[in-house]
């Protein structure tokens, strides 16, 4: 390859540099930024209109721009239903994230470490995980409602936790497993050679090494839980989470505080994402 292709390679790089440059330097970037603008546009509208004054009697978001105000940020908790729905969603997300992250991580460890002769049913579990991610959400929500009705389970916070953990496990497991597959088992063997028992090996060697994957899985579960509408709408019953409340209220009229909550959640999320980006870059 070396002598023969040296001219070929230079030709190729020449070609590669000459032609893609036009596309890569002008057309594609312009197009890509337009797509990004399209993705950001509704978010920008939400943020801007969270500062919009309301002049009519009803305190609902209006289409006309009436002037800038911090009123809705000052009165963020003025709508009791919305505020309690938000706290419920936060509690729900925290509880279900903790449970899903722990049991999803354990499952990921089992899937990476053990194969069929030692671990029968591995294939079946993998197929169930896949089915869980691929199944339409409305089918899962409806079937959970069927389950709770069949067994006469009162719908509320408990059924919400059961449902949210159920749809988060697969995402946690897939995320953790992806990070775990490059794990060097000899590090654990070294720990055993140095006299550590399985528990301290897990705590001092395995867990710190897989922690980035576990955190990524936990973030995923948290985001899924906080955003979920379809499943929650089926199983929420008396306790109404934030998205379900917003949907119900929007059929009458959206209070401006909804945009305030949306803006705050967006800001916190994006700050987290950028911070984690900065951290991972530092590590590299």
């Amino acid at each position: 390859m070396s002598t023969l292709s040296s001219s070929g390679t230079s030709l190729a790089t020449e070609k590669e540099q000459r032609r893609p440059r036009h596309l890569g330097r002008f057309l594609l970037p312009t197009y890509s930024w337009l797509v990004i603008a399209y993705l950001v546009f509704p978010i920008a509208v939400m943020i801007v209109y969270s500062f919009n004054r309301v002049i009519s009697g009803l305190q609902l978001v209006s289409f006309a721009w009436n002037g800038f105000t911090f009123q809705w940020y000052r009165q963020w908790s003025n709508i009791p239903g919305l505020t309690s729905a938000f706290w419920l969603t936060l509690r729900l997300a925290i509880v279900s994230t903790i449970i899903a992250t722990i049991i999803g991580t354990l499952l990921a460890i089992a899937l990476v470490r053990y194969r069929p002769p030692k671990f029968r049913g591995k294939g079946a579990i993998e197929q169930i995980l896949f089915l869980n991610i691929a199944a339409p959400e409305i089918v899962m929500g409806a079937s959970l409602l069927g389950l709770f009705v069949t067994f006469n389970v009162a719908r509320g916070f408990l059924t919400l936790v059961l449902a949210h953990v159920m749809f988060s496990i697969a995402y946690v497991t897939v995320t953790v497993r992806a990070r775990l597959s490059g794990f060097d088992l000899s590090l654990e063997e070294a720990s055993y050679d140095l006299g550590a028992n399985p528990f301290s090996t897990f705590r001092l060697v395995t867990l710190p090494l897989i922690m980035p994957g576990v955190l990524a899985g936990a973030l995923m579960a948290f985001a899924l839980s906080i955003d979920d509408f379809v499943t929650s709408n089926f199983v929420s019953g008396s306790s109404v989470p934030f998205p379900v409340w917003v949907y119900g209220a929007s059929r009458v009229g959206t209070p401006p505080q909804v945009f305030v909550f949306g803006t705050v959640i967006f800001t916190v999320g994006i700050v987290f994402a950028i911070l984690s980006l900065g951290l991972s870059r530092k590590k590299d």
Binding site: P136, V139, A142, P198, V230
Partner: protein
Amino acid sequence: MDQPLPTDHPGSVDHKRRLTALRKRLPPYLLSLPAGLWLLLLFIVPLLIMLSITLKTCSPASGVCVMTWNWGELPHVVNLYHPQFITSLVFAAIATVIDLVISFPIAYWIAFYGGRKKNFFLIMLLVPFFVSFIIRTLVWEFILSNNGIVLTFLKHNHLAPSNFHVLGTGLAVIAGLAYNYLPFTALPLYVALERIDRRVLNAAYDLYANRRAAFMRVILPLTIPGIFAAFLLTFIPAFGDYVNQEILGGTSNTMIGTVIQNLFLIDSDYAGGASLSVVLLIISLLGIWLYARLLGSRTIEEYL
């Protein structure tokens, strides 16, 4: 993992040996037990219950249901709700194709020219997900409404007739679906493009392929599994979606998700809702099965 048992362990040698064997064999099962049980009881069992509701026949007089393996209920509901199925199919398909067309170039650009800013651009692709799904859709309702930003601008500049409206039409539903599910299309495409070995591309150029030939004969064929995965990952949730239809489509163009939701939550017709859900699940599984047959079962997981 071979842990010596404590020497003062009570019991016979045989007992000890069996215990060690058990200890060696148990870990995978113990590790997967909590998650496995959770998924079994709250995912698989509910699906089976739903299937059994579908296959039972209830007498309208006494309300008693008996298992009759009545598979005929499935074609019956498909027939009954075929307009809604067709609407869902058409809307989801159009939205998915729009998403593929919109996101392929940007996925290509990030994968090949993203450089050190790759992660930043990926976050920008995911930016809609930082706002709650419901709020996102509500904002679109807000934007597309008759006196909203877009239509006011268009009408003011005489770019659209004054009675022109988007909200309450299929166009608004498709636009909402396309916006909400775009990241589901763009990410698998990015993963597929990113994975292409640059040396293969260089080899194509070495063999005097021009840009067009290299794209058509190297990049595109290597991206096909990703395109299929992107299609499924966008189409399946869009097909079952009812939020976009309810918020943006108004009362027209009812999709199948809306019917299921109403049957369960408003009419309390669990049998009808269950049958439709089973049909929806079967359609989704057919797509995945087709993918597995054509491109291998493991590959789709790589795009999740």
